[in-house]
Assembly symmetry: C2
């Protein structure tokens, strides 16, 4: 599909050189490391990539190397002055857990996990997982999320759901003592990596407290063999870190480092109870801390040291975690929380400003997931983008778009979500391979069946 | 207007006797003090009140005392299986501050207040306040909020905006050493109380740290004279309480009690740094603690002891605070935060469950604001209600409606907002006395003018 957006405001990362060529710049307050700019103009998509961003006066350079037919537009979309920006990257989730949304809330953590989550998960089939992931992907689209970093014990049906919906997913292994084996993980790595251009697989395991030393050693060797980063749940609770140190005299991060797991990078999910050595290792290895603020509140886990990550120059990304613990898959809520929780944790209303949070939710996630080809809007990048409605009271007045989107934004502002050049969601309608009602029906049928 | 909703699920408070008559009950998990139930059926509105709730088989009792013409319906609305529930009550806000949304974020508290908020507020006119309040009211409608408890230094234009929009507002005085006088407050009490059936006024002052003892004494006398509850910002920051104790040897709550301010009830906004005696006074006097979680994060103020309030049986309500400190006016975000922040504060994932939070956001707010005639859906109550879309991924599967709305709900689920029997917002369109674009235009014009 060739799509031309015109009459748009386009959100660019300031350090990106494309900004120099990109129409009239609308000034935004400049703060901290990462800066954004809104430019007025057009954005053209050819196939699945951004072909042109500019004010429409310098398009000769685009036509230069084309034959005389030029570009035939499949759609020309009047953005009506609304904003085009990169899609959000949901950098940690367990999508298939949609069936447990609002099923077992307001319970102590261990009761939630051992009496509710694990026994119910044991009952679902591969086909169930396929349907449940489609429900999660639909929810991502409503929140402007264009890719997810998914860990689940059975990733193949989730990968198929993602491919069928036209979504983009990076999977990691949920390897632990009770599920998956190293040979299986290696097979998944190849199978999912080759399944589609929109699916990939990186190495990972569930967590230190669920995985034997032997398996962790095997994971390190496998990651080095295929040159993959490694990911796992890391320092989510104080108890987890404490027990790990009792077992091994090291934090989970130190164990991973000592086993050589971080030779090709990676990072951790949650990263709340970080020790000094952990910060050093994250910094040295260029690892990413994925923060999951809503889940950390709801399970009473704690508040991550995001201000410190920024001070250390450690990359941060944002994840919703699974719908059983959050319960919704909404990047707007997460963005507000990343900033708000850092402020209250540090007693510092100035820390972790909106610009940094927006960077985490877009380019930071892309870096974590190895999706550096769709981290920001620029010519040549993959067309994973969203359109944000400014004609809503929560976006007015237009004092500062970045502050507005991070502190006031809502799913209601998402007019359009595009993945890989295809519009999958527009004006509250889904353009995927299945009717919403059918997906809802499956989800309800599954939870009713396994509750019996 | 006479409106008939059919094919609806209707959310009722379990202790409400109407439930016995109300169609087929859909079971919801039962937890803690307050319980809700969904019943399948119809809800009829005559004028501005709920005339009937039931399954449609027992309507004879409604027609009994009518003449033969019965009811002529202005609209009959197929709810398509979606939920009708009471509108949210925003129990603490400064609506007119919409102009400062995203204007001065990520700053230390004192710099925000003294260098940004106060100097800008000094420049706005009464007419500005009128336009800015309309913007806020529009935002309330998108979030299913049907009434607000507003404190502002100039309440008259806000009251006029509320009346013109068809909204419901309870005002309180922002009296302090720099603005308003006791005679002015008394005049406002009568003027706003008599302005419309949807506006009322209760006594209040800004906060102990901005108000002299003489004024506080005068406020106590005035409240007793007109038999009004009294409200003020109370224990929002640790410093505020500390300095108050240094000045008077008492907490702000103890001062108010000792002056006789609570003879007719009332309560406090924020209520974070509460001491033992404060809990006792709140309990003894039946006061309400209004919690403002998003604002408390963003200004790094702290996390309120909501679990303790519930344990003590102290009434809790929820407010967004003003858009300069939040920055959005969204009850869904606040509801998640009330529960999530309590859980992380107490390290207890089971505390402050969704049912209690939904009660706070509806009936709890109504109690605080003296709006007990629109606290829940029941025959004879005022028709302040909303319709929630279940055909969205964030509401699926339908494991538990109350958990879904509190933990996963979003503005996007609000299909319709009705105040006093009139539909003011439906399918993302506003039915108020002004075009949205005009309101946005005014807001932008105002902030641009005063920035100069």
């Amino acid at each position: 599909m060739n799509i031309r957006f015109y009459n748009a405001k386009i959100l660019l990362l300031k350090q990106d050189s494309v900004i120099e060529d990109a129409g009239t710049e609308i000034s935004l307050e400049v703060q901290k490391r990462h800066q954004f700019a809104l430019v007025q103009g057009e954005l053209w998509i050819k196939g699945n990539r951004i072909l042109y961003i500019g004010d429409g006066t310098d398009t000769d350079r685009i036509y230069e190397n084309m034959d005389e037919r030029g570009i035939v537009w499949d759609r020309e979309i009047d953005a009506e002055g609304n904003v085009l920006m990169p899609g959000f990257k949901n950098a940690h989730t367990h999508t298939a857990m949609t069936f447990l949304r609002s099923y077992a809330d307001d319970l102590p953590l261990q009761e939630w996990l051992n009496k509710q989550v694990f026994p119910m998960e044991a009952k679902i089939t591969q086909e169930d997982i396929y349907h449940l992931c489609r429900l999660g992907i639909m929810e991502y689209l409503t929140s402007g999320i264009t890719s997810n970093f998914d860990m689940y014990f059975a990733p193949l049906p989730g990968a198929k759901a993602s491919v069928d919906c036209g979504f983009r997913t990076v999977f990691t292994s949920g390897l632990n003592n009770f599920c998956q084996s190293l040979p299986e993980v290696k097979e998944l790595y190849h199978e999912i990596g080759e399944m589609s251009e929109r699916t990939s697989f990186v190495m990972g395991f569930h967590a230190e407290y669920t995985t034997s030393m032997e398996l962790m050693e095997g994971m390190a060797a496998l990651a080095q063999e295929v040159k993959s980063p490694v990911w796992f749940h890391n320092a989510e609770t104080a108890l987890e870190v404490e027990e790990c140190k009792q077992r091994w005299g090291k934090t989970p991060t130190e164990i991973a480092e000592s086993l050589g797991m971080y030779a090709y990078g990676g990072g951790g999910y949650h990263c709340i109870y970080m020790e000094e050595k952990d910060f050093s290792i994250f910094k040295k290895r260029g690892l990413t801390a994925v923060t999951n603020p809503a889940s950390n509140l709801k399970l009473a886990s704690g508040i991550a040291p995001v201000k410190r990550f920024l001070e250390e120059g450690i990359s941060v990304a944002i994840g919703t975690d699974g719908p059983a613990s959050n319960n919704c898959l909404d990047m707007f809520r997460e963005m507000f929380l990343v900033s708000g929780l850092a402020k209250v944790r540090e007693k510092d209303a100035a820390c972790v400003p909106a610009e940094e949070v927006l960077y985490m939710a877009t380019a930071g996630g892309a870096y974590a997931m190895g999706l550096t080809d769709c981290d920001c809007l620029a010519e040549g990048k993959l067309a994973d983008l969203i359109m944000i409605d400014l004609n809503q009271p929560n976006m007015q007045p237009d004092n500062n778009f970045v502050k507005n989107i991070v502190y006031s934004g809502s799913k209601q502002n998402v007019l359009l979500t595009m993945v890989d050049g295809k519009i999958l969601y527009e004006k509250q309608k889904f353009f995927i391979d299945v009717e919403p009602k059918e997906v809802y029906h499956h989800a309800n049928e599954i939870i009713r069946r396994i509750r019996e």
